[in-house]
């Protein structure tokens, strides 16, 4: 592993939502801060910076990751996905995002990015989750506004929609 000098800035390169991204970071800089303040990808939020609230959750090399517990330098060369990469286009929301909007699954929206990332990642592999499984998955996220039920409802609705559209595609 490369040794980094504590007081120097090092260049960090990775793929962010399918596009190359690059910036400089001291070894101690958190990935969450790097995304937000170096790259301007402020959709990822920090609520605790100690790994409990889940607001900062992103996907790194296909794994759900707390970006507040990851150093920017660790992400060098990785493939990152954040909330900014969820919508199919700038003026359209994805299926999961639409389900959130329909079900009032957010209020302040501060926790939402992390929850969306966990669900997006999970639903890609689990097409028919139960309510209990969904609650279990999301127990690593704190939302202070919604009381959670609308989030669960949105997740289940999105799962059903995604499954049926997948079916349509494969039928076609």
């Amino acid at each position: 592993m490369t040794r980094l000098k504590a007081d120097a800035r090092h260049s960090v390169r990775f793929t962010l939502n399918g596009r190359p991204a690059e910036g400089e970071a001291e070894p101690r800089m958190l990935l969450s801060d790097f995304l937000r303040h170096q790259l301007g990808a402020t959709g990822t939020h920090v609520g605790c910076e100690h790994g409990v609230c889940g607001a900062c959750t992103i996907v790194v090399d296909g794994m759900l990751t707390r970006s507040c517990l990851t150093l920017a330098a660790q992400a060098d060369g990785c493939d990152l996905k954040t909330v900014e990469g969820l919508a199919p286009s700038a003026d359209r929301l994805g299926v999961l995002q639409q389900a959130f909007r329909r079900n009032h699954a957010l209020q302040c929206g501060f926790c939402t990015a992390g929850i969306l990332m966990s669900l997006d990642h999970y639903l890609a592999k689990n097409s028919a989750p139960t309510e209990a499984e969904t609650r279990d998955l999301l127990s690593g996220h704190i939302c202070r506004c919604t009381g959670y039920t609308p989030i669960i409802q949105a997740a289940l609705e999105a799962a059903a929609k995604l499954a049926s559209s997948k079916k349509e595609t494969s039928d076609a």
């Binding site: 001291e26 101690r28 800089m29 937000r36 990808a41 402020t42 959709g43 990822t44 939020h45 609520g47 605790c48 910076e49 100690h50 409990v52 609230c53 607001a55 954040t82 909330v83 900014e84 969820l86 919508a87 929301l93 995002q97 959130f100 909007r101 329909r102 079900n103 009032h104 957010l106 209020q107 302040c108 929206g109 501060f110 926790c111 939402t112 990015a113 969306l116 309510e131 969904t134 609650r135 279990d136 999301l138 127990s139 690593g140 996220h141 704190i142 939302c143 202070r144 506004c145 919604t146 009381g147 959670y148 039920t149 609308p150 989030i151 669960i152 409802q153 289940l156």
Partner: protein, 1003 residues
Amino acid sequence: MVQAAVQSANSVDQGDDRPWVGRSIERVEDAALLSGGGRFIDDLGVAPGTLHATILRSPHAHADILSIDIEAAKRLPGVTAVLTGEAVKAVTTTLVVGVKAPVECWPIAMDRVRYVGEPVAVVVATDRARAEDAAELINVEYRPRGAVVDPLGALVSGAPVLHDGFPGNLASERAFRYGDPEKAFADAPHRFSIDIRYPRNSCTPIETYGVVASHDAGEDAYEVLANFQGPFSIHTVIARALKVPGNRLRLRTPPDSGGSFGVKQGVFPYIVLIAAAARVTGRPVKWIEDRLEHLTASVSATNRATTLSAAVAADGKILALDWDQVEDCGAHLRAPEPATLYRMHGNMTGAYDIRHVKIRNRVVVTNKTPTGLNRGFGGPQVYFALERLVQRIAISLKLDPLDVIKRNLIDAGAFPYRTATGALLDSGNYQEAVARAAAQGRLAELKARRDEARAQGRLYGIGFTAVVEPSVSNMGYITTVLTAAERRKAGPKNGAQATATVGLDPVGSVTVHVASVPQGQGHRTVLSQVVADVFGLQPKDIRVNTEIDTAKDAWSIASGNYASRFAAAVAGTAKLAAERVAGRLARIAASQLNVEAADVVFARGFVASKHNPENRIAFSRVAALSHWSPGSLPDDAGQTIRETVFWTPPELTPPDEDDRINSSLCHGFIFDFCGVEIDRVTLETRIDRYVTMHDCGTILHPGMVNGQIRGGFAQALGAALYEEYAYAEDGSFLTGTLADYLLPTTTEVPEPEIFHMETPSPFTPLGAKGVGEGNCMSTPVCLANAVADALGVADITLPLVPARLAELVRGAEPPAPAGGATAAPAREGDRQLRGEGQASVKGAPEQVWAMLLDPNTLQSVIPGCQRVDKVTDTHFRADVTLGIGPVSGRYRADVELFDLDPPRAVTLRGGATGALGFGNAEGRITLAPDGNGGTKLTYNYDAAIGGKVASIGGRLLDGATRVIIGQFFTALARRAGGGGAEGGGLSLFALLAKVASLFGGRR
């Protein structure tokens, strides 16, 4: 289950002439928030050259500051300034205090700290990390004082006093009498009492505080961006503290705010602090609070000790109440406190018809974080006492608790009803609401479930609560803390000005601005519905702005988002503003359409004749005329470019001569009941069913109303079952992370069964009442009543954690058996860490002994040790860097050796201090030959810690202690092995430094 619950939110119909208000349309706020496009304070760019602040905070609950050495910090590259209390004092003045007393309230400690987390210095640097580096280099010398954390303890004579201006820690005392309570108590056949300790907690928004401030020296004017939530009466407090007139404090809010629930009112002392830093440095300064700071030192709801007595008739009718409330506002009485105590003053009889009331209110200060706004604001504390007492009355008189509730409810024909203490309850039908809830929530079946569960030997209980939810606060209620004579002198305070502006631009599109500062409540969506209905447009045609800029917008002291005032006051005011514009547009259109103004309607994007809908003009055309041809408008129409309405309800009058106060404008009604089961083994509380019936007047957006109810319910469930801002007896704060201050997650929060009834308020433009806070008032006590019913116990204290229930059911836990290497708090809430263990090291006891006393060896084996200095043969000093969980920092340890018995035993005693905390420890190490040429070491220690390290909790300390001690012995053994004959020692000292620096022991 979930499906049905959210269904109402999904029924969006299109293409008819039904009003938009009352429909659950999708929120205009959501697209950006769902795709990472939110604009929260830390997402917005700052001016080039903006500096970043970090705050050094007190590790002590109560101590004199003897000296602050900032030299090393100031020398660090990148550091622009270090502000201590003195520097802040030079450019500001004290924050006003809400009672008449000779006390000051600064946003930073002057010469004394009074709570853990109180700011001691502000470091300003080119970036946050550098500022934090510098903060670690500040050396503060404290002389600890005795601390007081319990509100009743604070009043005991001889208790440490926080402020000389509050003798005996009493900040305010008032007695009130309504009706003839003495006679009612004397005549009543029964008297029942209850003693309550309501704990400290907070609604803890997921976004923390943020402030960006700058100062224009030329004009001596401040510009501040902060995620403040109001009330904007606080603007006057900030401007005064910064020593500028209000027009030289421009306060703005960001477009989005990540939740508040009252809590972000508490950012205002930091606005003063960061603005002062901006003035001193001459540069913009930004500060974003971290979670540890937030939990430790942002703000908290009040904890309260209450004794409530009731005079009761044989049938359960309550004839009189006698309240004795001791409110704990923490270390400083910060604006608007003691408002938490007085917010409910008109509602001290709850939903009941009780004509005789006595109240004694005392406000005390203790060595804890100052309190402020928090969802429910005074309601949870009051209803916990009142509704627990109602249950006690029922049990004592062998009546059904629900019958006692029903016997006392205010009659449906009595509205508007003036309570004994002065509130004017606007409307309601409480009996009907209870009846509907019991039927729709299947109460009879729930009772059968309880019977069945109990027959099987399970612990099952049912709780009830009836609550009046006040909303739209009277800005004058807080003056009830003053006597009538003091109020006469100060001048009357009352009302609740709401403002709304509706503007039409040159192409006729509609903009709405309100000073409501939402934190996720969807105000923009609801306002678009309200205004669309007035203009016959669609919500998407209306653009709404809810940010506030005090330099340019219409606002008043009541502006902001608190006291559930949006639906009742703000949305109604927007309707009034839109109607005023519509009235003028109607006159203009009438002249163009050649009809009477009364014949004009706004529908489907047109302004048309009611009688002949074909006779019409596009709305946008009429709307634009004021811009393009003002000269050709009818004379009486006036302009239609922009209309601002200020609305304050006449019902909100100041307290009268007899201290009666209509503390709020609207009063919703909530009736809750629930069934809970408590696991006999784990004593975990599981909610089987929670039914909540709400009458919040006219519902503007069903999806959002249910969202408010669910959100409040989840927070109340946390307060009931998990959450407490815990303090040790010496004032150390024990719940500084979200792993210690436990918030409910998806697996703990069930879906409540929500039912509605709509009795419109006659006092608000839309008939709506507030709904956001009710469950924070009703749910904690409803769950407590159910748990009391399940366990058959008389007294219940929140939060209902299993350990507490275990004590209730089984008595106190016996101490754990001794033995093994353990390091654990002796009991819950105790910061004392005791432990013992053993280790084997190569080398004879003599060699090990020598190592232990050798600074070089020590330095190399103590984890994180930078240097060890030998002061005398038995006195060492060490610099150590240690990390525990998220908190790592540098400590200076001072260790002395006693009772030396070379090479067999030694006692070490010492202390350590650092930016992250302090501690003291004592340990004894014994060395004995292990029979193989090595040494067997046995050790025990006894330590206590304070400051930030304490706040992260014994949970981490336990493991960290073992890890660090393990590292020490491993290093020692390695050194002993590697050094061959030189042997390994165990650094006693290291051990001690370690233990002391981390866990330091008792003072």
